[in-house]
Amino acid sequence: MIYGQRIRLRAIERDDIPTFVRWFNDPEVRQYLLMYEPMSRAKEERWFEARLEARDDYLFAIEAQDGERWVHIGNTGLHRVDWRNRHATLGIALGEKAYWGRGYGSDAVRTMLRFAFDELNLHRVELEVFDYNRRAQRCYEKAGFRLEGTRRQALYHEGRYHDEHLMSILRGEFTGHQAQQPPQ
């Protein structure tokens, strides 16, 4: 378990599959992800099996502290880890819409960056975000990501092309190093 301030990151379990199927069939959630077709349970099961064999890829479930409970609200991952050049791509999806806009995403992003820089010894973390996903862009900026440029008209969605922004953060730019303690 990796603890942030109000979130914690745990490993993905087989039991999470129905939750993923529910989240990723919600168009409001899906519009921000690299998914565009209805998601079946069978497909998610196959994806889960493949993940168990995945190398150089880390994926965690985000649990938010909500009063006395820990609620599974989304996933976050470091993908395509390149060990020689020491960089990776950050991904995050918050599937529980009731928890949007409450700072849990920022908390999870900072916790992942701390994992990337302080544990995996990476040098650079990058990500791609669609131009219409303003909430995510603000969250990444708050965590210290900088805009590197824009892939013009790289994504086709709802009848037209959209831009995709490239953002990154280098090890020296990350200031969220202070260790977090698990709640007593």
Partner: protein, 181 residues
Amino acid sequence: MLYGTTVRLRAVERADAALLARWLNDPEVRRWRLAYLPVSTEHEARWLERQAQRGDELAFIIQVPAGDGWRAIGSADLHAIDRQNGVAGYRITIGEPDSWSRGYGSDATRTVLAFAFGELNLHRVELGVLAGNARARRCCEKAGFRLEAVRRAVLFRDGRYHDECLMAVLREEFCAATPCV
């Protein structure tokens, strides 16, 4: 065969493995590529084998007129072809240093772009080029690419990190400058 102004592009063949390995092992050529290990002919042959099976990649050998025939000077490819979004990556290597700075690279690039937009019906072609590779950046700008982003410190080489430029050209930009058909 695709014909440009001076160059022509033919499909890559299994027999090209030794040629590709020779080019990629030249330190002057490799300096600007992301690869860092010496490559074997066998490795290139396997890459060609896989490449021929994949539906999302097209590789060409660039030839220039020489005497009565044609001489192979480099390779170019479209890869990660994403038909849904109409996006592909582009890569070019002029493997014979005596053919550098003669306009062959931009000629070949324009020829591949005309094919990508005019035949494959793609919408956007992009490429990554090391920030220090001024010759390649100029070549791609001449062919219509625009700088979109500088990816900081993505490549570790010679003891330090280097930046990479992301460049891209859209169909409407290319077709405004060059007829696509």
